[in-house]
């Protein structure tokens, strides 16, 4: 993030999603949202007087995710409590939009996608619901406060990029790799743990009805007939070696004969 020198203050909202570990049941912050939180905190640090707020839709047990965002440096947090974890993206966006609509954030940030469901819809949905311009997959952003504008480079297919200018207020989804998300500061985490998080129940905000129903699940078919090598590690290594030789792809040790 590069701020312009003529900075005024900004109100930043960053959307985070709790992701549940299938083995432990532990809730953690969606990997991609870490980059959005870091970007929000960097803007807040560089633009005096700015405030960053994190918002999350999720169960009570996932509150630690918001506390992590506070530990990373956001000023405020809002927990929209919803006990289930199967809301559709437009339902999550509707809840967040209903909660923040009147708060007039200058910049709304979200991760580019969630690591569990991988819908990749939230940012564009928020923009539509809040009537803001939107750029997705942002890998570089420059704020020009005097012009009330943000210039971004966003990632296209194959590593190409497009440069866009958006007037503020705007919604951006942040691509991974734009920054290195910091570890939460211990002092801030302790502070966050002592603090009651502002909460609002999703039912109070109103959850719109689902638009899809899960009918059935199945195992994805393989595209190749994977041969699973059996036995001890040495047996598997020997079998792989034989397969590679049969396929005309023999490995040669460094300095070996051609």
């Amino acid at each position: 993030m590069t701020p312009s020198p003529e900075a005024m203050s900004l109100r930043i909202l960053v959307c985070v999603k709790p992701v549940q570990d299938s083995a432990s049941g532990h809730w953690r912050m969606n990997h991609y949202d870490g980059f959005a939180v870091e970007e929000a905190v960097r803007i807040r640090e560089h633009v005096p007087g700015s405030r960053a707020e994190a918002v999350m839709v999720g169960p009570e047990a996932a509150a630690g995710v918001l506390r992590r965002a506070l530990g990373m440096g956001v000023d405020d947090a809002l927990h929209i409590r919803e006990p289930g974890s199967t809301l559709e993206p437009f339902q999550i966006a509707s809840l967040i939009a209903a909660a923040v609509r009147t708060r007039n954030h200058d910049l709304v940030l979200a991760g580019v996608v969630s690591e569990d469901a991988a819908h990749g819809q939230l940012g564009a949905l928020m923009a539509e619901m809040l009537d803001r311009p939107c750029a997705t997959a942002v890998v570089r952003l420059v704020l020009e406060m005097r012009l009330s504008r943000v210039t971004v480079d966003r990632e296209l297919e194959g590593g190409a990029r497009e440069r866009l200018e958006l007037p503020l207020p705007a919604v951006l989804t942040i691509q991974s790799g734009i920054n290195s998300p910091r570890y939460p500061a211990l002092s801030r985490l302790l502070q966050a743990n002592r603090r009651a998080l502002p909460t609002v129940e999703a039912l109070v905000l109103g959850i719109p009805p689902s638009r899809v129903a899960l009918v059935k699940r199945c195992t994805p078919p393989g595209t190749r007939h994977g041969l699973v090598l059996e036995g001890r590690t040495e047996d598997k290594a020997r079998e792989l070696h034989a397969i590679l030789r049969r396929k005309g792809l023999p490995p040669r040790p460094a300095g070996g004969r051609p």
Binding site: K216, T219, P220
Partner: protein, 332 residues
Amino acid sequence: MTPAAAPILVVAEHAQGRIQPGSYAAIHLAWKIQRLHPAPVQVLLPGNDPRAAAAELARRTGLAVMAIQVPGPEPSTSDVAVDALWRYLVDHRPSFLCMASSTRGLECAPPLATRLEAAHVTGVVDVLAEGGAILMGRLGCANQEIHFLEALTPTVVLNPLPGAFDADMPTPSAPGPVAWHHGPRERQRIVSRGFLPAATDFGALAAAKVVVAAGNGVGERDNLTWIQRLAALWPQAAVGGSRTLCDRGWLSHDQQIGLSGATVAPALYVACGISGAPQHLAGMRGSGLVVAINTDPRAAIMREADVCIVEDLTRFIPVFLSLVEADKLEGQ
């Protein structure tokens, strides 16, 4: 229920004079739906001046193409494209609206679904008909399952998963007709300052006959040494990896394989500690022999591999290297 006569529409994309390849995958998805749910398939192509691209699309697909002119500066941006498409769609509501899973497609689909009050399913890997309904499959449970969803709305917006549908076009018997839809100048808030080519050169990866790729399963940065030593067993080999490792700076961005990096098709692809995220798989599916080394037998990469080795790479690779070395000594 879906009205039988409502068309299946595809929104195609073009930029810098070429059709975005994901548009063809969206067309294949539309054709697959059409086989289950007979309805006309038509392509919409928004753009400042999409005439040449519309003619090319009609010629390559044989489908009817509606060029939707988006007045304003070139290249047109998502905000005006969405408004222009919406003006058309409001009078021509489709049963299914298929869009590429490109950055632009995933940016335009959510606002259109919102305005159409439509169900929106991204990452579609399959569609099937069951009980009179069209079910749309997408990956779930860390890519271990396909979840088939039924839409509860008359219109459904779909983005196919990259790589799940063919992007090659059969030669049509005749070009499709091209028509025009002119709209008013829309409120443009976003300004495009143009395109920047990929900052990295994927030449080394693209030219390699053997690619040894590392994923999050390498654990520690030092373990990349094993990946490099494994790659050194073949001439014309290159080391690549997943986005996660490139984001961490463990590998350079010209080593990134997947949708936002290089697409490779070597004779041998060795995936080490790679889980098999769809974005990565889309960049290596054309490979010859695929070997996967992973501690998780259920990892998605195992379904894409010819040879599956359920092992910790830090244990397996040293054993394999020793074996190759011993084989060399025996052969001398």
